[in-house]
Amino acid sequence: MYNKLFSVFGLASVLFLISCEKVIDVQLNEADKKYVIEGTVSNIAGSPAEVRISQTKAFNENSNFTGITGAVVTIQLNNSTTYTLSETAAGIYKSSAFTGIPGNTYSLKVKIGTAEFTSVCTMPLQLVLLDTVTVDNFAFGGSSSKILVPSYQDPAGKGNSYRFIQYNNAIQVKQVFVYNDDLSDGLRSTRPLANPGATSNEELKAGDIARVDMFCIAPEVYKYWYSLDQAATGSSSATPANPVTNIVGGALGYFSAHSVSSKTIRVP
C-alpha cells in the first residue's frame, strides 16, 4: 500500500502537467545471459511442484518463454526425501509426487551443465485464507475505476506476508500485489488491489469474471516481489536494480513454498 502510494503520487504530478509521451529507440548493450529460475511448491493437492527455467533475452527479442532443457532439478523435503522433477515441456519441470505442507522446508537444487543453483524455502506455518473479494469504486483524476478488495484476517504476530494475483476473465493482470503485516499485524486487511497503471483490458467492467489468488509467502519471497515491484518493472520511480533473490549461485528468479486460497466473483 505504502509503496503504491508513491506511484499514485508520481502519477498525480504527471497528470497535472502538460506532459507528452513517445516511443523512442534506446541503444541497450545486451549483458551476458543469465539463468532465470521460477520455482513453486503449493499446498493444493494435485497442484504439482513446478520449476521453470529460462534465460535473459535481449531487449529487442520477443518476450515469450524460451525454456532451458536438460536441467537436473530436485526438491528435497526437510532434509530427507529428495524428489526429482521431470521436464514436461521445454524448460518446465514438474513433480506431482508430493504436496506442500505448511511448516515444511523445501530445498531446491538445479543443475544446468556445470552450473548449480540452490534455494531453501519454508512454507509459512500459518494458513491464512482469503475470506471475501468485493468490488470498490475508486475515483481518480476525473474517472472512476473498479478495484478488487480482498479481505482476510492477519493472525497475531509479525512476519506474515501475502501475494495476490488478479485475473480478469482468466487473463492475469500484470501487476505485483504484495503485502506484509509490518503495519497491520493482527488486523483484518481490506487493502485494495490498486493498479494505477492498468491497461484497457485490465480495467474491470460490470459482468467481468474476476478471480483473486492469495498466497501466504515466506518473508524472503515477499522481499523478492517487493524489490521487483520497486525497482525492476521498467517504470519504477526508484533507482532500478535487480530484485533480491533467494536463489544462491547467481541465477535470477525465486523459489517459493506457499499456501494458496482463491475466490472468483462476477463484477457488479
Binding site: 508513491f6 545486451e30 518476450s63 523478492y224 535487480n242
Partner: protein, 775 residues
C-alpha cells in the same frame, strides 16, 4: 565545552586589542540605501589612490582601522550610485553612509554580478556567487515567477536537478548537501508545487550568496554548498505596496517604517490559484481536488539605540495537493529568527540569533474502510553567537559558536479503527549539534590576502530510544536502549578552512582554497525525482557524519576596462561516508532505518568558467562547466566506481539581457547539459507472467542531452513619481524541445511480446505574462 572555547576566544581577543594600540583610528558605521533605509550587504569601501578596502557585513556594518591621516573613500554597491567621501581621521569616527539608487538610464547597467570595481578579483574567497534580486529580475523563468533557486542554476558549477525539481547540485554533491539558509534558518525542503517553484518569494529577498567551495568557517553542516539568503528588512523611510499578478499566482508586498529611520516592517504573501480552475469542474473529484501553495514572509527590525538593533523574521509556507477525499498531501516549512545586533565598540560587532526551523508533511488516505494518516517532521532549535572583530587594518577576525537541537520524527502512521493498517511510530530521534569557529582574514600585503580558520563540531546523538548493532547483511544483532538525554555517541570533527588570494594587478588575480565540511543531517532518497516525502535522518551510532575535503584554484581577470570579467576555477572534492539504499530497501515501515542503507565514498572534480559582460546595453554571461562525479559504495555496482546520477560532463548556460529603449528590456537564456547518468536494463526476462528487466551497471547509461531556450521581455508601463508598473512576458522552452523527464520500459500494448522504451517529457512552450506594480 562551549564555555572553554569562549574563554579562549576572549583571551585571544584581548591579545589582539593590546597588540594594536598604536596611533590608529577606526571609522565605522552602517551602509544603507538612502531611498529605503535598507542596510546594504557587501558594499565595498575602498581607499582612493591607496591600496586597501573592506566590505560591509551582512547587517551593513563596517569598521575600518587606519593610521591617522586624510583619506578619500569610495563606497559602492550593486545597483547603487557610487559615492566618494573625504575623511580626516584624527579620532575614531562613526559614519553611517547612505547610497542613492543608481539612475535607470539608457545604457546603464541592468545586471551586474559584482560591484563596479570587480570584487571577484580581490580578497581570498573562491567559489562564491552573489546575486541581488535586482540583477535577476529580467531573466526569463517558468510561469514568469522570478526565482532565485532557478536563476543560480545558470551559474557555473550549480546544476539544475531537471524539469520539475527545485533541487540543485553543486560540484558533484547531492541536493541535500546544500545548506539553504533563510535569515540563518535551515530550510529543509526548498520546493513548492513538486519542485516547479522554490520556497523563496523573490519580493522578500535582499541578497543571495552561494558558496561552492572555500566556505568561511562561520558556515558548517553541509558538504557541498551554502546558499545564504537574506530577507529584506523593509523600507524605514516610506510606505510601499508592491505586487504582481501572473497566470498562476499572485503576490503582495507591504513595507514601511514603524519609526522613521529607526525601524521598519515587511510582509509578503503569495498564493497560486491554479486550483481555482479545478473548482469550476463539474466532476466532483476534480472540483474537490487541491493543488496550491501559499507562503508568507514577515520581518521587523527595531533600533534600540545607536548600538543595538533587533530583527525578527519569519517564513511560513504550505503546499496542498489532493484528489477528492481519497488522497491528500500537504507539506511546508516554518522558520523564525530573532536576532540581536550589538556593537560593543568601534571594532567589535556581535550578533546573537535564536532560530527555529520546522519541516513536516502529512499524507491522508481514505479508501473504503481504510482511513489513515502519515506524518513526518524535522524540527530545529538553534542558538547562535557570532563576533566580528576588526582587530587592525590587516586583520579581521570572526568567531562564534552555535548549538542546534534537532528532533526528527521519521514517520508515524495513525489509522482509524476500521483501517487495515495499525498505528505505527518510527522512533523519534534527538541530537545536539554544537559548533565553534574562529577565522581571520589577513591582508598579508597589498597583493596577498589570506583567510584561515577552523571550525570544531561535536554532534551528539541523544536518547531516548533504541539503537542497534547490525551485521554485514543489515540484520540486527544487538539492541541498546538509552534513557532520555543520554548520549549515544558524539562525533568530534575539526574542519580547517584556508583561502589565499594573490592579486597581480588591478585586473587579475589568482586564488586557492582548501575546505573540510561535515554533515550530520542526511536526506535519504531512493526516488529518481525529489518528493516531499524524502526522509531526513540524523547521524546515529551506525550512520557516520559525511565528510568532504575540497581544494580549488581560481583565476580571475577583468577585461576591456572592467567591461568583461573572466573567471575560471578548478576543484577536486573527496567525500566520505556517503549513503545509499540497499536493493529492495523499505525505509517507511522499518524502524531500523540503518538496516536499509549502504555506505561508501565519492569524488568529484571539474573546471568552471564564466565570461561576463557587466556594462552596456547588452549584459549577461556565458558559463561552461566540465565535470565528473563518481560514487563507490559497497554493495552497489559490484563495489566498483560508478557515475553519480548528477554526473554531467558538459553544462553550458548563455544569459543575455538587452535594454532596447527606456520601455523595453529583452532577455534570453539558453542552456545545454549532458544527460544525467541513469540505469537502463541490459536484458529482460519473464517472471510471474510479467516482463522484468535485468540490470548490470548502476548509472551506466545517459539520458538524452538537455537543451532549452527561454525568452523574456519586460515592458515598463507609465512611471510616475512613486508609482510604477510593468508587464513581464516570458516564453519558456521557446523552440519546444522535448526534453526527457523519464525514460521507462514496458510491454507494447498491441503486442505484449514486444517491449518498448517510452520517453516522457514535460512542457513545451510555456508562455506567461505577469503584471507587477509598485506604489
Amino acid at each position: 565545552m562551549a564555555l572553554k572555547q569562549l574563554s579562549f576566544f576572549f583571551t585571544f581577543l584581548l591579545l589582539i586589542s593590546a597588540a594594536s594600540a598604536q596611533q590608529r583610528f577606526t571609522i565605522s558605521g552602517t551602509v544603507k540605501s538612502k531611498k529605503t533605509g535598507e542596510t546594504i550587504i557587501n558594499a565595498s569601501i575602498r581607499l582612493i589612490n591607496k591600496p586597501g578596502g573592506i566590505s560591509s557585513n551582512e547587517y551593513g556594518f563596517y569598521s575600518f582601522t587606519l593610521p591617522a591621516g586624510n583619506y578619500e573613500l569610495e563606497v559602492s554597491a550593486v545597483g547603487k550610485k557610487a559615492d566618494t567621501l573625504s575623511v580626516v581621521l584624527d579620532k575614531d569616527i562613526k559614519l553611517n553612509i547612505l547610497l542613492e539608487e543608481e539612475p535607470k538610464e539608457l545604457g546603464e547597467v541592468v545586471i551586474r554580478g559584482t560591484s563596479p570595481r570587480g570584487r571577484t578579483i580581490s580578497g581570498a574567497q573562491t567559489g562564491v556567487e552573489r546575486l541581488t534580486i535586482k540583477e535577476i529580475k529580467n531573466i526569463p523563468v517558468i510561469f514568469g515567477e522570478k526565482d532565485v533557486l532557478k536563476t543560480i542554476q545558470l551559474l557555473p558549477g550549480i546544476k539544475s536537478a531537471g524539469d520539475g525539481n527545485a533541487g540543485f547540485f553543486v560540484r558533484g554533491g547531492t541536493s541535500d548537501q546544500n545548506q539553504i539558509l533563510l535569515d540563518e534558518a535551515n530550510v529543509y525542503n526548498a520546493s513548492h508545487l513538486l519542485g516547479f517553484f522554490s520556497t523563496f518569494n523573490s519580493d522578500a529577498i535582499k541578497d543571495v550568496t552561494v558558496y561552492k567551495g572555500g566556505m568561511p568557517a562561520q558556515y558548517g553542516g553541509r558538504l557541498s554548498s551554502v546558499l545564504d539568503i537574506k530577507m529584506n528588512d523593509g523600507n524605514n523611510q516610506d510606505y510601499n505596496v508592491s505586487g504582481g499578478i501572473g497566470l498562476i499566482s499572485a503576490k503582495l508586498n507591504v513595507e514601511g517604517p514603524v519609526q522613521k529611520d529607526k525601524s521598519s516592517f515587511l510582509v509578503t504573501g503569495r498564493r497560486t490559484y491554479a486550483d481555482l480552475f479545478l473548482k469550476a469542474s463539474p466532476d466532483s473529484t476534480l472540483s474537490k481536488s487541491k493543488l496550491y501553495f501559499y507562503d508568507f514572509n514577515a520581518k521587523m527590525n527595531y533600533e534600540l539605540g545607536a548600538k543595538d538593533k533587533i530583527f525578527v523574521s519569519g517564513y511560513f509556507g504550505k503546499d496542498k495537493l489532493g484528489f477528492g477525499d481519497q488522497f491528500g498531501i500537504d507539506w511546508g516549512n516554518t522558520t523564525g529568527t530573532v536576532r540581536w545586533n550589538h556593537i560593543f565598540n568601534k571594532k567589535l560587532f556581535s550578533n546573537t540569533s535564536l532560530i527555529y526551523s520546522n519541516y513536516d508533511y502529512s499524507i491522508n488516505i481514505k479508501n473504503g474502510s481504510n482511513d489513515f494518516k502519515i506524518f513526518s517532521q524535522i524540527r530545529d532549535w538553534n542558538l547562535k553567537q557570532d563576533y566580528q572583530l576588526n582587530a587592525n587594518a590587516k586583520n579581521n577576525i570572526r568567531f562564534g559558536w552555535s548549538s542546534i537541537y534537532h528532533t526528527v520524527r521519521p514517520g508515524e502512521v495513525t489509522a482509524s479503527e476500521t483501517s487495515s493498517l495499525g498505528n505505527f511510530v518510527q522512533q523519534k530521534r534527538y541530537s545536539l549539534e554544537n559548533g565553534a569557529y574562529i577565522t581571520n582574514t589577513w591582508k598579508a600585503s597589498d597583493k596577498l590576502n589570506i583567510t584561515y580558520g577552523t571550525r570544531l563540531t561535536a554532534f551528539s546523538v541523544l536518547g531516548d530510544g533504541d539503537y542497534y548493532n547490525l551485521n554485514g547483511n543489515g540484520q540486527v544483532i544487538d539492541t541498546m536502549s538509552y534513557k532520555k538525554g543520554e548520549v549515544v555517541k558524539t562525533y568530534w570533527n575539526l574542519e580547517p578552512r584556508l583561502a589565499m588570494g594573490y592579486q597581480f594587478n588591478n585586473s587579475s588575480s589568482v586564488k586557492a582554497s582548501y575546505v573540510r565540511n561535515v554533515q550530520n543531517m542526511h536526506l535519504i532518497s531512493n526516488s529518481t525525482s525529489s518528493t516531499p516525502t524524502d526522509k531526513w535522518i540524523s547521524s546515529s551510532n551506525i550512520i557516520k557524519p559525511e565528510i568532504s575535503d575540497q581544494v580549488s584554484l581560481g583565476y580571475y581577470k577583468n577585461l576591456a576596462g572592467n567591461k568583461y570579467e573572466l573567471t575560471a576555477e578548478v576543484y577536486y572534492k573527496n567525500m566520505q561516508n556517503q549513503i545509499d539504499y540497499r536493493d529492495g530497501a523499505n525505509v517507511f515501515t522499518n524502524d531500523v532505518i540503518e538496516s536499509q542503507l549502504l555506505f561508501g565514498k565519492g569524488r568529484a572534480y571539474g573546471l568552471e568558467t564564466m565570461l561576463r559582460k557587466k556594462t552596456g546595453k547588452l549584459t549577461g554571461w556565458i558559463s561552461y562547466t566540465l565535470s565528473k562525479t563518481e560514487r563507490k559504495i559497497d554493495g552497489i555496482n559490484n563495489n566498483q566506481w560508478y557515475n553519480a546520477r548528477q554526473d554531467r560532463t558538459h553544462d553550458i548556460a548563455v544569459v543575455g539581457m538587452y535594454q532596447l529603449n527606456k520601455k523595453w528590456v529583452l532577455s534570453a537564456n539558453w542552456i545545454y547539459y549532458t544527460g544525467d547518468a541513469i540505469t537502463f536494463p541490459n536484458s529482460k526476462y519473464t517472471v510471474g507472467g510479467q516482463t522484468v528487466y535485468y540490470y548490470t551497471n548502476r548509472n551506466g547509461y545517459r539520458m538524452p542531452s538537455y537543451h532549452r531556450l527561454d525568452l523574456g521581455a519586460t515592458m515598463q508601463l507609465k512611471q510616475k513619481k512613486k508609482r510604477s508598473s510593468e508587464l513581464a512576458f516570458s516564453l519558456y522552452n521557446a523552440y519546444g524541445r522535448e526534453n526527457a523527464y523519464t525514460i521507462t520500459f514496458r510491454d507494447n500494448k498491441n503486442d505484449p511480446t514486444k517491449t518498448e522504451a517510452v520517453q516522457t517529457s514535460l512542457f513545451r512552450w510555456i508562455p506567461s505574462v505577469s503584471y507587477n506594480f509598485k506604489f
